[in-house]
Symmetry: C2
Subunit: 265 residues, 2 copies
DNA sequence: CGAAAAATACTGGTATGACCAGTTGATGAG
DNA sequence: CTCATCAACTGGTCATACCAGTATTTTTCG
């Protein structure tokens, strides 16, 4: 059984998804005005409160600008939105994956991980090191059975502990966003990134570098570790982009349809 | 005249700021339930719609989890919030700056810039290069007068163009968030980061490396450029943290009060 | 007594209609 | 034509009612 949690969406969630979808997929270009709130009520068949809740969220995400009396205008999300929008950009409303966004995420991951390792080596205390070592030991255990899903989970937890020990709140928050997207593609990534996930030795090396506060070593090993998975994903993305370009001449590539989880809260 | 744009806040904006403030400043710990919506109406003296708009935004920011019938529970924002929360964390409600957050931002900037330069060198087209060169020329012009504010603006635009040419949407979005925070501290940073801002030569070198698609060179020069400003800011942060620690034994450091701009939209 | 079931008192979700407060643009006076 | 005025938008706020889940309490019954 591989059931998925049922997403109970409220009306305003639905409104938010529809409107943000229209915006990020380009049907509402920057500068143009959204329909008036009362008009959206008619169009979507919901009360004004639901519309307003959704519009406030759009404004917070940097997708629109609301001004009393002046209407609600669409902004250029590439210029105004924050990293939180990644999730919305990665998955199109039809469930396909935006490969350009996927590539971006992998690149960002590869850029941040070495610095996370460096700062972790600088700032981690004994308790932090103990957690890392324990995770590595669990990985070593899972490695003998080649339990890939388990290794993936542990590797994710390893980096979770790393970023938490790095003493950098910006990395922590960015990591939360990246993890969110990663979780949605777990099943695919466990295959594609198998080499990186199986590389328990590098995880161990990083943990020990952190233990002896060896910033340089931690940084470089982390970089090398990231490179494995990143290269494979980027190769795959390139192949898929070529395929779809040739296949039906679309500029945007896509991949497997995925049902929509994502809890309300 | 150094006037500031007046921020016209709606009621739900005010509610959002108060509640998010209580949460990120720890007075509402993770796991505990927020007062019921109708109760918040009484406590804050506003109607329920305003409360609900704010709560939806809190949920979107990853600060709370709302469930029908079950109440609204506070989440651990360090684990659930996205990078967009940085802004909220950098400035406390009393206007002081959280130095730990400021340090985090500088570190992230220094980690991302080299990779942005690398990707830019890989993917920038002729038009992108032309824009970069033009900005560098303007910087060279401003440098002869040592017009620091102008150099700061141009340097920011330079990186704006770089990140836009990097072809990485995650970097673009993260940059938007970082720029937002940077803008609020411009006046301070122009002094602290003077060395970096004045280093037009490095900007030029990066632009030329991008022009000839020299990824390695672009990356390294960008790294060296970032290091200048970053080191200075980190030094300052360290000094201020020590000062406040000794001064009144507070664990958190703070610095200059700043009036609150930030437009509604 | 103790466990299952039903009633009740919560919680958030939706709907309606009214009115206030800014902005915009048409209208009419000069 | 220019400018002041006003009407028709826009979003912002409010009050009230009821629906729909959830948690708690009370009751029932083995």
């Amino acid at each position: 059984m591989n059931l998925r949690r049922i997403a109970k969406k409220t009306l305003s969630d639905e409104v938010y998804e529809q409107l943000s979808g229209e915006i990020v997929e380009g049907r509402f270009g920057p500068g143009i005005s959204l329909p008036a709130e009362r008009q959206l009520c008619d169009m979507l068949g919901v009360n004004r409160g639901a519309i307003r809740e959704a519009l406030k969220r759009l404004a917070q995400a940097g997708l629109v600008s609301i001004s009393q009396g002046g209407g609600t205008k669409v902004l250029d999300f590439r210029r105004n939105a924050g990293l939180d929008l990644l999730m919305r950009l990665l998955f199109r409303r039809d469930g396909t994956v935006n490969l350009e966004v996927a590539r971006s995420i992998m690149e960002m991951r590869a850029a941040l991980a070495p610095d996370i390792a460096r700062l972790c080596a600088r700032r981690a205390d004994k308790a932090d090191v103990a957690v890392l070592r324990q995770l590595v030991e669990q990985m070593e255990g899972a490695a003998v059975d080649d339990d890939l899903p388990q290794l993936q989970t542990l590797s994710l937890r390893f980096w979770d502990a790393m970023v938490r020990s790095s003493g950098n709140i910006a990395y922590e928050l960015a990591f939360n966003t990246l993890r969110e997207t990663y979780d949605r593609l777990r099943d695919i990534l466990v295959q594609v990134m198998a080499d990186e996930i199986r590389d328990v030795r590098s995880h161990r090396t990083i943990a020990e570098a952190v233990a002896r506060a060896d910033e340089l070593s931690a940084k470089h090993v982390a970089g090398a570790l990231m490179e494995q998975g990143t290269r494979r994903v980027l190769e795959l993305v390139a192949v898929l982009q070529d395929a779809t370009r040739q296949g039906h001449g679309a500029d945007e590539a896509d991949e497997r349809s995925a049902p929509d989880p994502e809890p309300t809260g």
